[in-house]
């Protein structure tokens, strides 16, 4: 089983969400997601200031094998993107929960976080998907 840090929240689309001290949300794809995709060769990031509805596609990760949309886990405004990925998309493979983060959102309503999965629920989801 891939690494699933206990302190993070997850979506059914294999994204992780970390609540920062300032209330913003850092978003990336899980170790399981990057393993399934294989070596990434491109990451397309959202524009800063872009607002997204929950579940709206706002980034694309593309590997040798497949392209995959990354969705906004909750409604919010993009306040930062990981520009290092433009040159080094492999950071997502090497460090999916660290240097391979994708973007940071200012959530419209912090309470929306409650709809996300915790580590146990995400572990169960992966087991279910086999």
């Amino acid at each position: 089983m891939s690494e699933i840090p206990a302190e993070l929240r997850y979506t059914r689309d294999h994204e992780w969400v970390r609540e920062e001290d300032d209330g913003t949300l850092t978003v990336g794809i899980t170790a399981h997601a990057q393993e399934s995709l294989g070596d990434l060769v491109f990451v397309e990031l959202p524009a800063q200031g872009q607002t997204s509805e929950a579940g709206e596609a706002c980034a694309v990760v593309e590997s040798v094998k497949a392209a995959s949309d990354v969705y906004a886990p909750v409604a919010g405004t993009v306040v930062a993107t990981n520009e290092a990925l433009e040159e080094r998309p492999e950071l997502v493979n090497e460090s999916p929960y660290g240097e391979g983060w994708l973007f940071r959102l200012e959530p419209e309503d912090p309470r929306n976080l409650e709809g996300l999965l915790d580590a146990d629920a995400y572990t169960a989801l992966l087991e279910e998907e086999g």
Partner: protein, 363 residues
């Protein structure tokens, strides 16, 4: 669960990501497809290709059977140890499979694709019954492809002295038979190297010895990007039962002479050649960012076509593909990606051979 090669557990233990490949559980990579790709271009890698089918053809009518079944002519083989690449066609000239035929001491050895091995065997037995001939499926064997600039020396170092000398002397598309080992200078990567066929029980030992000698385990993911860079067709995507060799950049495999050789599909091919083919298979390079995928639409001034194999070239660091386009198409083209037409260029494959880029810059 799919079929397993004798090395299945070895791959799992090495941390391979296993995927279904034509009904077989095969390693797609052992961590990084890109690193495995570069290892083969720069040093060496070993692929388990035991899912491919080995068929020995024996009997007095073996030559006649293969001359009927294959569009290339086994009469071109000089003797035991010579090999040729050919397509096996249906009556419409469509490709049933592409394969390599080796002349051996007691007949021929044919190596076919994994996904088609069952239907190939049925087809050969049915359509090749021109006399006393036997098609023997060798599922007691395993096959390893050892590829890359360092591969020949690394393999030779594991052979006894006499055999090493003979292996070194092999030219491309030549093979030798030794006790419990068949060595051919063939491959599917655009690099030098060997393909080794051995009894299934010996495969694990060979694998370990190669890895200990510094050869990197490589999965079928890297095998695909390597063959695409080398401009080598993949059966089932670049050509199928619905496309002929003339539409698939494989016209060179058709032996038209002697005219009296009545191979299956000859009439259909002759008609197509007379009337002129409408489509060809060629290479595509994407100018900008993104990765080409199979079945994307291609627009050219001569008409529309389709990407048959699209991927990412780790050597060129841009997207490349093979495409079937109208015969008049050349140079500039556009490829539809996520609803937008992106600029690209048609080029003549190969893209990369022997570690060197063989096409100009697409910009």
């Amino acid at each position: 669960m799919g079929s397993k090669t004798p090395l299945y557990q070895t791959h799992v233990d090495a941390g391979a990501r296993m995927v279904d490949f034509g009904g077989w559980d095969m390693p797609v990579h052992y961590g990084s497809q890109l690193e495995e790709h570069h290892a083969v271009r720069r040093e060496s890698g070993v692929f388990d290709v035991s899912h491919m089918g080995v068929v020995d053809v024996r009997g007095p009518a073996a030559t006649a059977a293969l001359q009927r079944l294959m569009c290339n002519d086994v009469a071109r083989l000089g003797g035991p140890g010579d090999a040729l690449y050919t397509c096996m066609l249906n009556e419409r000239g469509g490709v049933v499979d592409d394969l390599i035929v080796y002349a051996t001491e007691d007949g021929y050895r044919v190596v076919v694709n994994a996904a088609t091995r069952r239907q190939d065997l049925d087809w050969m037995r049915q359509q090749g019954a021109v006399g006393e001939v036997e098609f023997i499926e060798r599922d007691d064997l395993a096959m390893l492809a050892v590829q890359g600039p360092r591969a020949p020396a690394q393999v030779q170092a594991l052979l006894d002295e006499g055999l090493a000398g003979r292996a070194e002397a092999l030219r491309a598309f030549q093979a030798l038979e030794a006790p419990q080992l068949f060595v051919s200078r063939t491959g599917y990567t655009g690099e030098d190297g060997y393909e080794l066929i051995m009894p299934a029980a010996k495969a694990g030992d060979w694998w370990q010895r190669l890895v200990s000698a510094g050869v990197r385990p490589c999965g079928l993911g890297a095998r695909d990007t390597l063959r695409l860079e080398a401009g080598l067709n993949l059966y089932g995507t670049d050509m199928t039962a619905e496309t002929t060799p003339l539409e698939s950049a494989l016209g060179w495999t058709v032996a038209w002479e002697p005219e009296t050789r009545d191979f299956i599909g000859r009439q259909a091919l002759a008609t197509q050649r007379e009337q002129g083919v409408t489509h060809k298979l060629t290479g595509v390079v994407l100018a900008g960012r993104g990765v080409l995928r199979n079945h994307l639409r291609v627009k050219t001034p001569a008409g529309e076509g389709e990407i048959t194999s699209g991927s990412w070239s780790p050597t060129l660091e841009r997207a490349i593909g093979l495409a079937r386009v109208p015969v008049g198409a050349a140079d500039a083209c556009e490829i539809e990606m996520r609803g937008k037409w992106m600029p690209g260029r048609l080029v003549r494959p190969p893209f990369v051979r022997h570690g060197r880029v063989r096409i100009g810059n697409a910009d």
